[in-house]
């Protein structure tokens, strides 16, 4: 595909992500931190986020399957997830985490289960989207262009 087209596609895609509320300004901040000294900063952070989130989500699923649910621990984990998602600007995930925490505090098992499903769902979406975005960026780089800001 044409370089200009790719770049334009990337910009549109990014804008749509902001528009739809998947990302917020924090992500922009992350991007602004990326420079010559730190060329892969964003990718690194996002990869770390993916790892962390998947781990946390697994643990949460396991915790909810237990007989006696340790809500405190769950709360702490959701807090972690919230922190991570807010650090990279995964807006929707962060919001869901807030709701999740409320349910944890209320010790509402049904609510927690429902919320967990939603978080997983949202996480899935954002992961896919970010991965596609990175792919686009890679394509642009391969084509010799620079990533527009």
């Amino acid at each position: 595909m044409d370089l200009v087209q790719l770049q334009r596609q990337l910009v549109d895609y990014r804008t749509s992500l902001y528009h739809e509320g998947f990302l917020d300004e924090q992500f922009t901040q992350l991007q602004s931190l990326q420079d010559e000294n730190n060329p892969d900063f964003v990718v690194e952070v996002v990869s770390l986020f993916f790892e962390d989130s998947e781990r946390l989500l697994n643990e949460l699923s396991k915790a909810l399957e237990q007989q006696v649910i340790d809500f405190k621990r769950m709360d702490a984990q959701v807090h972690q997830l919230k922190g991570s998602s807010s650090s990279i600007g995964a807006h929707r995930v962060q919001k869901l985490c807030i709701v999740f925490r409320n349910y944890c505090e209320a010790q509402n098992v049904e609510g927690c289960l429902k919320c967990l499903q939603q978080v997983k769902h949202e996480y899935g979406i954002i992961k896919t989207k970010l991965e596609s975005m990175f792919q686009l960026e890679q394509q642009i780089l391969n084509a010799g262009g620079s990533i527009p800001v």
Binding site: L33, V45, H79, S84, S86, I88
Partner: protein, 740 residues
């Protein structure tokens, strides 16, 4: 025989009979001549005589008759023929006139007779008119008497004077022998002789009321003649004389209650007095109709006058009573005002007097906290601080309440995080609840906005108070707190008819329900709950030690927030639900740490100060740790990362200028670390600046950070520019607390 033309009378003139005839004729002639003279004389005298020509005729007739008789005198002796012829002429004329007269009289006499009858008729009429005149005059006089009597009666409002005057005037007008008034007694079963005309001081003579005669008098509104032997009429000592006729009339006694607005008084409920009038004895006088009428009229007037007097008396009494009450009320009001002023003065003075020492204690304890202390000492100082804060809160409460009552309290409006308020309440209440093994749950509706505009501190105070009460009065079970946005229909069926919520675009009504399964409240006590200083002394609750102000203050705060608060309970032992609705403004998601999407702006502003700065970052969350590190690296700092508090304590050194700590992670005692770092670096200039990084916070947390000894607080997520300015500020002022 001589031949003369003389006529001889038949009889000799010397005869006795002839003599008598001669004399009679003479007198007849005389009379006959004088009669017309008399007639003329008298007719001339009288003005009216309609039959003049009859008179003339009659005069002529008589004159001629007289002439005849006169001439007859000559015939008694020898007389000549001439005399005889004259005599004859006269006779003939007389005959003619008399015949004519006789014929005329046939016409005249009936007329004359009818004049007579007319005269009789007129005389009768005149007599009749005279009689009627007499009657009218008497009536008019009666009327005059009545008017005078009425005037006398009405000119006074004193009951005794009225009655006395009545009797006197009646006695005078009608020339009575005795006049008396019998009034019904209090029981209504007897009539008591109250007033008499002649006797000065009537004896308290009573007569039972149910006497046939009395009933008869009472049943009609006319004056009734009664027998002098009747008990009410026996007013004079019995004597040998014939008692005069007695008349009795009823006098209605009107009461105020008889005058209904739309009805006239009913006769059946009236009480009557009896007026008895006695004509002089031994006189043949009888009661005339007009006199009876006079008596009836007077009786009515007396009734009216009496009722006026009674009404006036009552109204005077009522007025006096009102005046007394007014005076008493005035006094009470002045006393109340004095009391209020005294209280206000007291509060104003105590305000200052109480706050000054409190401030001293709190300030000095805080300062003490900052110095070197052993852990025991620190614990003591903390306890002192906590207690004095509590006391300061109490003082503020009391002063708030008086401020609320004066209407001088204003809400501190600001944007705040609603979720944070609830979480803070939960955090504060959890320790106590877990000690009592109570289960506390918080449910926030998904549509509840995260941020709102309102008075955060007072909202939290109110919610905390309610939740605190729920915990206080529950020995076991669970407490659930739910918060959601109230819709219009739920607002309407709240138990407050005067609460009229108005929905508008930039406001919403927050509804918080706190349900506990504790001791419950008797529904009858519920209204008293919100009155200050009235504590519910229900059995089985231990003395909570509260001042009873809490709910009253809550109610006032809620009212200021244009909301409503009430408590529902089904009874003792059935728990209760406190429901609170307040109006909050909608806030756009304002987060001061967020800056709009700006392109990267390279600046040298303060860069030199930051470059090479040695910084320690402590964050458990890998991702956010990495982000923060990237941020700081980008700014040119020398970053050391640690993942736990122990590591942090181990690695921190005096080379580090700033330590960033993430404190929103549960399980990290950031305050403890702060304290230990303070311990580690006793000299102030060696100690790194401690900055708290947190994702969400509120004023309370901020104050806690400040008190714990932190030098700064920033909200995550942190943008590049923000971090830059924060570091610059921090290095310049050695303190940076983000506005929350």
């Amino acid at each position: 025989m001589e031949s003369c033309n003389c006529i001889e009378p038949q009889w000799p003139p010397d005869d006795l009979l002839m003599k008598y005839q001669y004399i009679s004729d003479f007198f007849i002639a005389l009379a006959y001549f004088s009669i017309p003279l008399e007639l003329i004389y008298f007719v001339k005298k009288s003005a009216v005589f309609p039959y003049r020509w009859v008179l003339v005729q009659f005069g002529a007739f008589i004159v001629l008759c007289g002439a005849t008789h006169l001439i007859n005198l000559w015939t008694f002796t020898v007389h000549s023929r001439t005399v005889a012829s004259v005599m004859t002429t006269a006779k003939v004329l007389t005959a003619a006139v008399s015949c004519i007269t006789a014929l005329m009289l046939v016409h005249i006499i009936p007329d004359l007779l009818s004049v007579k009858t007319r005269e009789l008729f007129l005389k009768n009429k005149a007599a009749e008119l005279d009689r009627e005149m007499g009657l009218i005059r008497t009536q008019e006089e009666t009327g005059r008497h009545v008017r005078m009597l009425t005037h006398e009666i009405r000119s006074t409002l004193d009951r005794h004077t009225i009655l006395k005057t009545t009797l006197v005037e009646l006695g005078r007008t009608l020339a009575l022998e005795e006049c008396a008034l019998w009034m019904p007694t209090r029981t209504g079963l007897e009539l008591q002789l109250s007033y008499t005309l002649r006797q000065q001081n009537p004896v308290g003579y009573t007569v039972p009321i149910h006497h046939p005669v009395i009933n008869q008098v009472f049943s009609s509104n006319r004056a009734v003649k009664i027998s002098p032997n009747c008990p009410v009429a026996r007013l004079r000592p019995a004597g040998k004389y014939m008692p005069g006729e007695v008349v009795a009339v009823r006098v209605p006694l009107l009461h105020l209650s008889n005058f209904h607005i739309n009805d006239w008084p009913e006769l059946s409920t009236k009480r009557y007095a009896l007026m008895v009038l006695m004509l002089p004895s031994d006189s043949a006088r009888q009661w005339h109709v007009h006199e009876l009428e006079l008596v009836e009229v007077v009786a009515d007037q007396v009734a009216v006058a009496l009722s006026h007097a009674a009404i006036l008396e009552e109204s005077m009494r009522a007025r006096d009573l009102l005046m007394e009450q007014n005076v008493a009320l005035d006094l009470a009001r002045r006393e109340a005002e004095t009391a209020i002023r005294a209280r206000n003065d007291f509060l104003a003075v105590m305000n200052h007097e109480m706050r000054t020492p409190m401030h001293a204690i709190i300030a000095l304890s805080s300062l003490l906290q900052e110095t070197e202390l052993t852990p025991e000492q620190r614990l003591m100082v903390e306890t002192i601080l906590k207690s004095s804060n509590l006391l300061a809160t109490l003082i503020n409460d009391v002063l708030d309440l008086s401020g609320l009552e004066d209407g001088s309290l204003q809400l501190d409006l600001g944007t705040f995080n609603l979720y944070a308020v609830f979480r803070e309440v939960l955090n504060l209440i959890k320790p106590i609840a877990s000690v009592k093994k109570l289960h506390v749950s918080l449910t926030l509706a998904p549509d509840l906005p995260e941020y709102a505009i309102g008075d955060e501190k007072r909202l939290m105070q109110t919610i905390l108070n309610i939740v605190g009460n729920a915990v206080k009065f529950s020995k076991e079970g669970s407490i659930s707190i739910t918060a959601f946005v109230a819709k219009l229909d739920t607002l309407r069926d709240s138990k407050a008819p005067e609460f009229l919520p108005v929905l508008s675009d930039n406001h919403f009504y927050l509804r918080v329900q706190v349900k506990d399964s504790g001791s419950g409240i008797n529904p009858l006590d519920i209204p008293k709950l919100f009155t200050k200083f009235a504590q519910n002394q229900s059995t089985g609750t231990r003395n909570s030690g509260g001042s009873g102000l809490g709910l009253a203050i809550c109610k006032r705060f809620v009212n200021l927030m244009e909301g409503h608060i009430w408590i529902e309970s089904e009874g003792l032992g059935k728990g209760c639900t406190a429901i609170l609705i307040v109006k909050l403004g909608m806030a756009e998601r304002v987060n001061e740490s967020k800056l709009p999407y700006m392109p990267k702006m390279p600046t040298n502003h303060g860069q030199t100060a930051i470059a090479g700065l040695k910084v320690l970052v402590m964050d458990e969350n890998g991702v956010s740790r990495m982000v923060t590190k990237g941020l700081l690296l980008h700014l040119g700092c020398d970053v050391t990362m640690v993942g736990s508090s122990d590591e942090c304590l181990r690695l921190v050194s005096h080379e580090h200028k700033v330590v960033f700590m993430d404190i929103c992670v549960p399980g990290i005692d950031s305050y403890g670390i702060t304290i230990r770092i303070h311990e580690k670096f006793t000299k102030r200039h060696e100690r790194p600046l401690l900055v708290a990084l947190t994702g969400n916070t509120d004023k309370v947390k901020k104050e806690n950070c400040m008190r714990a000894g932190m030098d700064g607080l920033i909200l995550k997520p942190v943008s590049l520019d923000k971090m830059r300015s924060v570091l610059t500020d921090l290095l310049e002022h050695r303190v940076f607390f983000e506005a929350i």
